[in-house]
């Protein structure tokens, strides 16, 4: 904790802002439902697409529901699904990359070919077909988003692992007779945590954009649940009035992804 405090004190203001940003979203995702001023599905306003007011901070949506409350609930789906899928994608991608590096030869070639194939299908198209084929329940959406971004993580992790595997300390570990698993876990993995964390953040941004894109097309999170992308979709008719109901969730996604991106950039070691 003390270490963290000193790190915080030393960090440049831009990093602090980026960090506060991401912390703010995580907090909203955790505490959102308790902060919501109105029940999430209740029709509380007589008016639809009303503007900002003291009773409805972000106005009301196309059915007269409170936008702020729906936003707070929607953030939770977006953040949790995004984080889950990004973590899963990184876990799978990195494990496969380590296996490919350590076994090498034929195994590596086959795996790399497969990943090349997956990566040449545009991510939205792949996700779209998978959703159409498998369905779009929440766990399936998480799996599909994860699968879509495994190849990207694999590429980065494989390049990192290949460089590390060529170094002397890995050769020494091999000579000591250590198993592949031990080498991967104790020698290679600890040395690639930093870039992998940055990649995790990037995957999170991609997954959030993909997921809200799918929901926006009506193929992502299905009612009665609603993530931020679904909120944009259901209020699209308010666009011509410039209703806060459509702008607020779209802005929320942008603030979440841009904030994460700025944090990754701020965390980058100097000189890169």
């Amino acid at each position: 904790m003390k270490q963290f405090a000193s790190l915080w004190a030393k960090a440049p203001p831009a990093n602090r802002i980026a960090f506060a940003f991401v912390g703010f979203w995580l907090l909203l995702a955790l505490a959102g439902p308790w902060l919501a001023p109105h029940p999430v599905g209740a029709f509380v306003d007589q008016d639809v697409f009303s503007g900002l007011s003291s009773r409805f901070w972000l106005g009301s949506d196309y059915l007269g529901r409170d936008v702020l409350s729906r936003l707070l609930y929607g953030t939770r789906y977006t953040v949790v699904l995004g984080l889950g899928a990004a973590l899963l994608a990184s876990l799978c991608g990195t494990s496969i990359a380590l296996a490919a590096t350590l076994w090498g030869g034929r195994v590596d070639e086959v795996i790399a070919r497969l990943m090349d194939t997956l990566i040449s299908v545009p991510s939205k198209i792949l996700a779209l077909v998978l959703v159409a084929a498998c369905g779009s329940s929440l766990p399936l959406l998480l799996l599909i988003c994860a699968l879509t971004y495994v190849p990207g993580n694999f590429r980065i992790a494989r390049a990192l692992a290949m460089n590390l595997a060529a170094l002397d300390f890995v050769a020494a570990a091999r000579a000591r007779g250590e198993g592949k698993l031990a080498i991967a876990w104790h020698e290679i993995l600890p040395n690639m945590v930093h870039p992998l964390l940055a990649d995790l953040g990037l995957r999170f941004v991609f997954v959030v954009l993909l997921l809200s894109g799918l929901s926006f097309l009506g193929l992502g999170v299905q009612p009665p649940y609603a993530d931020l992308g679904s909120l944009v979709r259901e209020n699209i008719s308010g666009l011509t009035e410039g209703a806060p109901a459509i702008l607020a969730p779209a802005l929320a996604i942008a603030l979440l992804t841009v904030g994460t991106n700025l944090l990754i950039d701020a965390m980058k070691p100097e000189g890169q």
Partner: protein
């Protein structure tokens, strides 16, 4: 760059390398076709049932399935489909009842036009942003461009599109909010109605290209040859355009190809918002109506476009940098 000192030697090493790249791209394309076929086979529901409706008897459905060739084993159907694709015959659309090639021929020019016009705007803009940021490294301008491109990379398309509609269609009433594309429209009309889709897509793709351009050029600016050229008295513009840019053509073109490949399949959301009759929205329709031949053909076009762009970028890199050919 392309020095004449080893002309015949270069010929010897360049062609086999290019042939290998092309062969490898073809193998990937073949695997993509298997993947797409397998994925399309996973789609629940059945086009014969879909076409006949709920009231059809099982015999009618079976007869139509037979007619459509749906009752044959999957490997056989795959082989037939692949053979058809090689003859540029993507089969019959199961829903529209017309050749897939005709449906695609109607939409493909629109998509290519949108992608082309976006590229014509985005590529020079990205180059300008990247070069400016690299030359003015560490200044407020560099930081501003960095912040702007970091934000643009993470911006959801529908925010850009909706803000654009709100500003230009609702508040200022300069532009139409729906993209109308027809053969009768003049170039000016088409450009006006496609201005917002082009702008939205530009915002999405320009940032990544600008960042990669900056990184590639900034990396070169520290090299001794740049200092040498500057000391010789060459102007900054000449050094950057004449010396630095050719040296980092490979990575820049690669980033461009990667971003531009997004314009084909990635334009789904922009096409949907502006009701643009392009390939991506055609594919969304094919997914929802279980029109497998159409879906497969669209997916193959997107993947081929990606592979083609990557191949082109590879070739540019090989031609621009003889050192890559040495291995």
């Amino acid at each position: 760059m392309v020095g004449g000192m080893s002309g015949s030697h270069r010929q010897q090493t360049l062609w086999p390398l290019l042939a290998r790249r092309i062969a490898s791209a073809l193998v990937t394309l073949l695997m993509v076709s298997m993947l797409i076929f397998a994925l399309a086979g996973l789609l629940p529901g059945d086009a014969a049932q879909e076409a006949l409706g709920q009231s059809a008897t099982p015999e009618q459905v079976a007869a139509l399935r037979h007619e459509m060739g749906l009752d044959q084993p999957a490997p056989l159907r795959y082989a037939q489909w692949l053979a058809g694709m090689l003859r540029a015959d993507a089969g019959q659309s199961l829903v529209a009842g017309m050749p897939v090639a005709d449906i695609i021929a109607e939409r493909l020019p629109n998509t290519l036009m949108l992608a082309g016009m976006t590229a014509a705007l985005a590529v020079p803009l990205a180059l300008a942003m990247g070069i400016t940021a690299a030359i003015r490294r560490g200044t407020w301008l560099d930081r501003a461009i960095n912040l702007a491109s970091l934000s643009m990379v993470a911006m959801p398309e529908f925010l850009v599109a909706t803000l654009g509609v709100l500003l230009f269609c609702v508040k200022l009433m300069w532009l139409p909010s729906l993209a109308m594309v027809s053969a009768e429209a003049t170039w000016g009309e088409t450009l006006r109605s496609c201005a917002l889709p082009i702008l939205s897509l530009t915002v999405v793709v320009v940032a990544q290209m600008a960042r990669m351009t900056r990184a590639a050029i900034a990396d070169q600016l520290d090299r001794p040859y740049v200092e040498m050229a500057r000391l010789k008295g060459a102007s900054l513009a000449r050094v950057v355009l004449g010396h630095v840019l050719p040296n980092c053509l490979g990575p820049i073109v690669n980033a461009m190809a990667l971003s531009l490949s997004y314009l084909m399949g990635g334009a789904i959301i922009v096409e949907t918002i502006f009701n643009f009759p392009g390939l991506a929205s055609l594919m969304v329709n094919a997914v929802t109506s279980r029109d497998m031949p159409l879906l497969q053909a669209c997916a193959m076009i997107f993947c081929s476009a990606y592979l083609l762009l990557m191949l082109a970028a590879d070739m540019v890199a090989l031609i621009a940098n003889p050192r890559l050919r040495a291995q």
